[in-house]
């Protein structure tokens, strides 16, 4: 039995997003596949990969992940299935000794984890997670600390996802029982000791709970209470499925332990991961993404500068010029400062603006929670390397939210306004003016509303437009999945604090996807079009026009194409360009890693639904 019953045939990198030492590496091995069945194993491994990349938050993080398929042949097919557990009595000779009926439980399907660790270490030394698919259609699986096992039964992929939650991301079980509801007798009240895992807690206090930054101010804490601690709480979910709060019953106990959402894949197979689990997964994988968001700025029609954040904590740039010999490949990309006092956050938004053709300002979030900036000017002695990046405020009363979008606008060539979200769920701003006494440090930064009815969604994009030099409109996604806005006007009584933020539609048929990019364009001073990604993978839009009967609430948001051949990557950035007041081009990232686009033209027969979206 064991490794004498087969051999390692070889390894194929079936998802290649870069070198193993820079990415998160998933290894998929098979057991109970004879050499003639290795084609079937390849299909089964790909099926799991497809499931993984269709699962939030992995869809948006796929560029951080490599997948290696390790082909291992066994002398026999299937897995041991002892009659003691009601099985067939099959006892095939397989490389990893896959067997049902571990510990007397038929569905407990295990393999020799030491062998799995040894093979992974030889084939993919930089592995992060090992999955073993067992060639049997009997439902079963198991979660070892480093190796998860599952069979080919329908939905057995779900076992792999749940066990990855444990093994790769350190997530706890959120279910509120141990052996089963109605079976347990010693699982009434969770001991008064805080679990170390991020997704269960004994603390349901709004002010101190460990995922409080994801809880809306209006959400009750605890959100549900179990009236009878001797049983599993039978009450249905009293709030929205996406509501983050503190739901009593978690971590194997009926009472005194809380889970973040009513449901989660760490509680019930087949459910989406809750927001707290998604955040943990994101935090683990974000540093493995190739680059952060990309920002482009066109200083003139023949010149474009591109900015992005690398995992070295620096902001990098490259540029394109239509002059011969100055294209993308004629020179190398470069970091835009000699040193970065605080590393740029991997998942930061980045905003750039050219106040005039000879000057650029760039903004990003540092790992220290501050918004940083540096600038370039064509004048001698004012290049990128002639000065250091600096935080754009003396004090940050609240740190910038992890993964925040950043927006900036130059209402005139001597003035800049910058916007970002704080960990308090508010949209914050600071501004700079060339005039004496109006620099970054001459005043404090501030939230742009007296109150936010709903906190900004974690990691939301944010966008701003100045329809005229004395007016700004700001847009972001709220934690409720709606797109929110507020505005500022120089006119007396029309400042930030004279009105409240508002959702820009009465109904959103589909919520905005978490971490969506968002973009706005004013094709003319009296018209705005806003674009974002929905949880359905479509790009959505709505618009506002000063004309009577054409306001935000006079029509509904709509997807900008009849069909999307490939869903948008959740968390995609979105760019819109209005080449002229009657034409818009929209760009976003598809789940296939390509840039997709569609367009609208005022000409009859050239609307959103008159042609399809296409990859460029």
């Amino acid at each position: 039995m064991g490794t004498g019953d087969g051999a390692v045939v070889g390894t194929t990198k079936i998802v290649d997003n870069g070198p193993a030492n820079a990415r998160w590496n998933l290894v998929i091995m098979g057991d109970g596949y004879r050499s003639t069945e290795l084609g079937q194993f390849a299909t089964n491994a790909q099926s799991f990969v497809n499931t993984l990349f269709a699962t939030a938050p992995f869809t948006a993080l796929r560029a951080a992940i490599n997948v290696y398929r390790v082909d291992v042949r066994s002398n026999d097919s299937g897995a041991d299935d002892p009659t003691a557990c009601g099985g067939t009595g099959a006892a095939p000779n397989t490389y990893f000794d896959a067997a049902f009926c571990n510990n007397g439980t038929r569905r407990l399907l295990t393999v020799n984890s030491s062998t799995a660790l040894a093979v992974a270490g030889q084939q993919v030394p930089g592995w992060h997670m090992i999955l073993v698919i067992v060639n049997s259609t009997v439902y079963g699986g198991s979660g070892g600390p480093s190796v998860a096992v599952f069979s080919l039964a329908p939905n057995a992929n779900e076992i792999g996802l749940h066990e990855m939650g444990h093994s790769a991301f350190g997530l706890a079980d959120e279910y509120e029982y141990y052996l089963g509801c109605g079976v347990d007798t010693n699982r009434n009240v969770h001991p008064a000791v805080e679990p170390a895992e991020p997704n269960v807690t004994i603390d349901a206090n709004h002010a101190t709970n460990k995922w409080r930054d994801l809880v809306a101010p209006a959400t009750a804490m605890p959100t549900t209470k179990n009236a009878n601690c001797s049983v599993c709480d039978p009450q249905p979910n009293p709030v929205g499925a996406a509501t983050v709060g503190a739901f009593e019953g978690a971590h194997y106990y009926h009472c005194a332990a809380f889970r973040p959402q009513y449901n989660c894949r760490m509680r019930v197979l087949g459910q989406p991961f809750c927001a707290v689990c998604q955040r943990r997964i994101r935090q683990t994988l974000l540093p493995r993404l190739p680059v952060g968001e990309v920002s482009t700025v066109a200083r003139s029609s023949g010149h474009m500068d591109v900015f992005w954040v690398r995992n070295d904590g620096k902001v990098w740039s490259n540029w394109w010029d239509q002059t011969t010999g100055m294209g993308w490949h004629d020179h190398n990309s470069f970091p835009i400062a000699g040193s970065f006092p605080s590393p740029a956050a991997h998942d930061t938004g980045i905003a750039t603006v050219a106040r005039n053709p000879g000057h650029m300002d760039a903004f990003w979030a540092g790992l220290d929670g501050k918004i940083w900036s540096t600038w370039w000017d064509q004048a001698t002695g004012m290049g990128w390397f002639d000065h250091n990046p600096f935080p754009i405020g003396r004090d940050f009363p609240v740190p910038a939210a992890p993964g925040t979008g950043i927006a900036t606008v130059a209402r005139n060539s001597n003035h800049m306004d910058v916007f970002w979200t704080g960990t308090d769920g508010q949209v914050w701003s600071n501004w700079w003016d060339l005039n004496q006494g109006m620099g970054w440090y001459d005043h404090g930064m501030f939230p742009i509303a007296a109150s936010f009815p709903v906190p900004a969604a974690p990691g939301t994009g944010i966008t701003v437009v100045a329809r005229n030099p004395n007016h700004m409109d700001v847009f972001w996604a709220g934690a409720d999945g709606k797109i929110w806005s507020t505005w500022w006007d120089l006119t007396n009584g029309m400042g930030w604090y004279n009105h409240n933020p508002f959702p820009i539609a009465t109904t959103f048929p589909v919520p905005a996807t978490p971490g969506t990019g968002i973009t706005v364009v004013a094709r003319n001073p009296n018209h705005m079009d806003v674009f974002w990604a929905g949880t359905d993978g479509k790009i959505w839009s709505t618009w506002w026009d000063l004309t009577n009967g054409m306001g935000w609430y006079n029509h509904n948001p709509f997807p900008i194409a009849t069909t999307f051949p490939v869903p948008a990557t959740p968390g995609t950035g979105i760019t819109v360009v209005a080449r002229n007041p009657n034409h818009m081009d929209v760009f976003w990232a598809g789940a296939d890693g390509k840039i997709w686009s569609t367009w609208w033209d005022q000409t009859t027969g050239m609307g959103w639904y008159d042609h399809g979206a296409f990859s460029i």
Binding site: N102, P145, Y178, D312
Partner: protein, 176 residues
């Protein structure tokens, strides 16, 4: 866009150490320790450590239960910490067709298996510690405390006081 963007990799020469443990009941044995070119998961918050004021005892987070791996310097200060789903456990997860109760636990009499951790190779690191709530059957109620400690490099084993752990090595592992 530019090709440079797609080759953006982490810090050059990312170095890490993979430790593989085997366990039987509460006994955890180090069986392999290998330097690998890989990127470990990011650290969890180190500020949650609250040792007695002025002391160097930082191997516990009072009132917290569970399991984590910690990298510390010679003064016992944590340099890296990663919370794990407790790997050594007296139960196993089982799966059912009931769509509302698809997951449950069954007790296991004799925990036995292997697990691996991947930690960064930090210049100041002195040792790696496993911190765990008591490894015992039934509901665990006690906060976590150090259960094992290992040197990061083989040549430091003699000088290192490995605690409860019965540390052995495969002679040809590591290659350095």
């Amino acid at each position: 866009m530019t090709s440079e963007q797609h080759t953006g990799s982490g810090p050059a020469g990312a170095a890490a150490v993979r430790l593989i443990f085997e366990y039987e009941g509460p006994d955890i044995r180090l069986v392999s320790r290998q330097r690998v070119d890989a990127a470990p998961p990011p650290t969890d918050d180190l500020s949650e450590t609250t040792g007695p004021a002025g002391s160097d005892a930082t191997d516990e987070r009072p009132g917290v239960k569970g399991f984590w791996v910690e990298l510390r310097d010679a003064r016992q200060q944590p340099l890296y910490r990663r919370v794990m789903h407790p790997p050594v456990r007296y139960d196993a997860e089982v799966f059912s067709d009931d769509p509302d109760r698809s997951l449950a636990r069954v007790p296991v009499d004799e925990p036995k298996g292997a697990f691996a951790v991947l930690v960064p190779e930090l210049a100041d690191a002195d040792h790696v510690a496993l911190v765990s709530s008591p490894l015992a059957p039934g509901p665990t109620v006690a906060p976590a405390a150090e259960v094992a400690r290992f040197a990061l490099r083989e040549d430091e084993d003699e000088a290192d006081a490995a605690n409860d752990a019965d540390e052995t090595e495969e002679p040809d592992e590591g290659g350095h």
